[in-house]
């Protein structure tokens, strides 16, 4: 009888370091949130550093069914949204004797002061 009521499914997410994003691990069975949390780390992250853990009761996850996943389809014609569509600027800037400010260059600006 207990078999039918004991188990709730919790999805476990964890962060490796304080600055990293949460990553899905696996799922476990537990009667409640507190117990799920007590089980989570040793079940899935015994050998790796952990900075934080989330547990989410599966009943609170709204996923997609197969038909809904069809809405994820997309044509490969959206270069205008990405830098790929503007690659020709590199040549243009060269003409003005300037370097193109590409993604690599721009994202490096957040680094150390030079």
């Amino acid at each position: 009888m207990a078999e039918k009521t004991f188990y709730q499914e919790y999805e476990v997410f964890s962060k490796r370091t304080p600055s990293s994003a949460f990553q899905h691990q696996f799922s476990l069975l537990a009667p409640n949130e507190d117990m799920a949390l007590v089980m989570a780390q040793e079940n899935f992250m015994r050998r790796e550093p952990v900075a934080d853990i989330w547990i989410v009761n599966r009943k609170h996850i709204r996923g997609m069914d197969a038909e809904e996943k069809l809405t994820l389809g997309r044509l490969d014609n959206k270069q205008y949204r990405t830098t790929k569509g503007y690659g020709y600027l590199k040549k243009k800037w060269r003409h003005y004797e300037q370097q193109m400010l590409d993604e690599k260059e721009i994202l490096s600006w957040g680094g150390d002061d030079k």
């Binding site: 078999e3 696996f26 009667p31």
Partner: protein
């Protein structure tokens, strides 16, 4: 792409096969043919429950492990076996949802003898060398079969296997360390490993299953290959095991307890004496040397702790 709800079963199957052929991963909520679901349920619940049962033979050596370091290592190893059981049973439990079955039902199936566990876990672990040999060669054999399924078409299984195989590498090294210490030790210690190898040899050959269903009447290898759950046959896996382990076993000065064993250069295969497959059939029907003792232990501890699960059921929120 046509609307799923209006697709016929044949169209769904065709699309499913196309996805598998394209290397797509099937997920728990996806449509799948009954034959595929059943093959997965059988394979993964057997795999999962084997881990849970497989904890028991090694667990016997946990308190006796002969140093603080070994006590720690074998505890961590048996803990992993339980952890692998957890990962795999979760995958099986999700597949069983359409049938309204859960972990409790799987445990009952085990107790009734409907759910089998691997032949190796029916065997006795007689000495400390057995604890080492299990880690080295049984886990070695398991690594061969499991890595063969890392690319399995069923996503949740493939992901669990990724984690499991990574941990098996530790298990194999834990086993190797025990064996190495014995191999480099006293004469008595060396004799312990040879004795363990002699007793485990047949069980290791059987681990990969019969070469074809002609041997034992049934084999699930065909359907698992068809659905891209695995790629190699039982015999190919057994040969892979020989390739990897025979030279290592010999290098430690051990003797293979099969005088006919040799490598056939022409056919590029190992020739060996077949284990007694009728014995294999008996073992997996829970008539092996330690089958009933281990099932009793599993059952009695499960029943003895039922009040805990009842109590926790009262805390469900």
């Amino acid at each position: 792409m046509s609307n799923l709800s209006t697709m016929t079963e044949e169209e769904k199957l065709e699309q499913f096969v196309q996805r598998i052929e394209a290397g797509d991963k099937i997920e728990a909520d996806d449509w799948m043919p009954e034959e595929y679901r059943m093959a997965l349920v059988k394979l993964i619940s057997m795999h999962g429950i084997s881990e849970i049962m497989g904890a028991l033979p090694e667990k016997e050596w946990v308190p006796k492990a002969p140093s603080l370091h070994r006590k720690l290592g074998i505890m961590a190893k048996v803990q992993d076996e339980m952890g692998h059981g957890q990962l795999l049973l979760r995958v099986a439990e999700d597949l069983l949802k359409p049938y309204g079955k859960n972990r409790g039902d799987l445990m009952q199936d085990l107790f009734k003898g409907d759910l089998k566990f691997h032949n190796v876990f029916h065997m006795e672990t007689k000495t400390w060398a057995d604890a080492g040999l299990v880690g080295w060669l049984v886990d070695g054999a398991a690594i061969i079969t499991q890595t063969n399924m890392l690319g399995a078409s069923y996503g949740p299984y493939a992901r669990a296997l990724q984690r499991i195989c990574a941990e098996e590498v530790f298990h194999a090294q834990h086993g190797e360390a025990i064996i190495m210490a014995l191999a480099e030790g006293t004469d008595e210690q060396k004799a312990m490993i040879q004795d363990a190898l002699n007793r485990w040899w047949e069980a290791l050959l059987m681990f990969f299953g019969p070469a074809s269903k002609d041997t034992t009447g049934t084999s699930k290898q065909d359907v698992t290959i068809k659905y891209k759950i695995r790629t190699k046959t039982n015999e190919q896996l057994r040969q892979d095991f020989f390739d990897k382990y025979i030279p290592r076993i010999l290098s430690l000065g051990l003797t293979i307890p099969d005088s006919t064993m040799h490598y056939d250069e022409e056919n590029k295969t190992w020739v060996y004496e077949q284990p007694d497959w009728s014995e294999f059939k008996k073992i997996i029907k829970n008539q092996g040397p330690r089958s009933q003792a281990r099932l009793n232990l599993r059952r009695s501890s499960y029943e003895n702790n039922a009040w805990v699960r009842d109590a926790l059921a009262a805390t469900v929120n």
